[in-house]
Amino acid sequence: MNYIAWLLVLFVSLTSASVPAQAANEKRINMRFLDRSDISRSSGCSISLWQTNRDPDKDKFAFVFFEKLVGARQNRAPAIIKIGSNLVKLRRVAVGGNKAAMIFTRTSFTNFPGEGHLWC
């Protein structure tokens, strides 16, 4: 009887410890680096961002954001980031601050309808 009670206590304590950890993980955004195959900087115009402490020329995983400008009118293709294993396409919805070339110092993006629910 004592043995069963001890096992029960152990089970309860283990499950009660893992639940908060799982809950915390579920609340985090699983942001990932983009694969090199996801981005194409070999032609045309593009804007790319990488993690500050990484070197995009040396590190295999560095890029976190990529936006391509396409066509003669340099239209913006959907920007991409990676969350989990999914590439999330983003649409620019607002700009502000200063502008240099085609880049604003403050920019907001949202996802396309039906592709998750990313918002700003």
Partner: protein
């Protein structure tokens, strides 16, 4: 997702994002924030003439150049299709040396510009013209100038270019009319070369009706006068930055 970025001044075809934050928010989840750096630019065929194609349609022209496109470079003033670029004379200065060069011009000591530097500018004018808009060729010419600067400028300023893997060339273009200019006459490329340079300067300016190089009107026998219709002008106060060309020196 929100981007908050520090964007540096565009340099030629590239824009550097020197720092910033990327924040992602999804309902029910913790906000994700990350420090980022970045860059923006265009990759174009190396042999393409940079913005040397004239067009009356400014939209078409800007589209060809792209948002981070190369600055227009006057490479062949005699070429009618570059007329919109080659309105005036132009001058190339090394960015790292430009402070010294600018001082020479700004303080009115134009004629005290070191002869070797003056000559090098002249050489570059000719060499760039011969590049005929080929970008690789322009890079090659400017790379040679880096070598020259390493050989000469180190002695003068004790500050070399050797530690720089990438060197910036800042281009200036005159925005006023041509004048009577002193240009080197005793160069390795002899008198005809100086005469050609003089004609080149005239051809580069639509206001120049004619030009002639006179080696007899000289300054210490080193410079001859390139006489053109217009006022005397060699001051960089009247020159405007045209752009920056990044060249890998090694």
């Amino acid at each position: 997702m929100v981007l908050s970025l520090r964007v540096e001044e565009p340099e030629g075809e590239a824009v550097e994002i020197s720092g910033g934050h990327l924040s992602v928010s999804i309902p029910g989840k913790q906000v994700f924030s990350l420090s980022v750096k970045g860059g923006a630019g265009c990759v174009t065929p190396a042999a393409a003439a940079p913005d040397a194609i004239p067009s009356n349609d400014s939209k078409v022209r800007s589209a060809r150049r792209g948002p981070f496109g190369r600055y227009p470079v006057c490479t062949n003033p005699r070429d009618p299709i570059q007329k919109h670029v080659c309105k005036d004379n132009y001058l190339i200065s090394l960015n790292l040396q430009s402070a010294a060069v600018l001082d020479h011009f700004r303080t009115g000591k134009d004629r005290e510009l070191p002869e070797w530097l003056q000559m090098e500018y002249a050489h570059q004018l000719i060499a760039l013209e011969e590049c005929n808009g080929k970008f690789r060729c322009l890079e090659s010419v400017l790379r040679n100038t880096i070598k020259m600067a390493e050989n000469h400028f180190i002695r003068r300023k004790a500050k070399g270019l050797g530690r720089f893997s990438r060197t910036r060339f800042r281009l200036f273009q005159a925005k006023d009319s041509p004048g009577n200019d002193l240009i080197p006459s005793k160069s390795s490329r002899n008198f005809s070369w100086s005469q050609r340079l003089c004609q080149l300067r005239c051809a580069a300016n639509s206001k120049c009706a004619g030009a002639g190089f006179d080696a007899l009107q000289h300054n210490n026998g080193v410079y001859g006068y390139c006489t053109m219709k217009g006022r005397i002008s060699q001051s960089l106060r009247n020159w405007r930055p045209l752009g920056v060309l990044l060249v890998k020196s090694r």
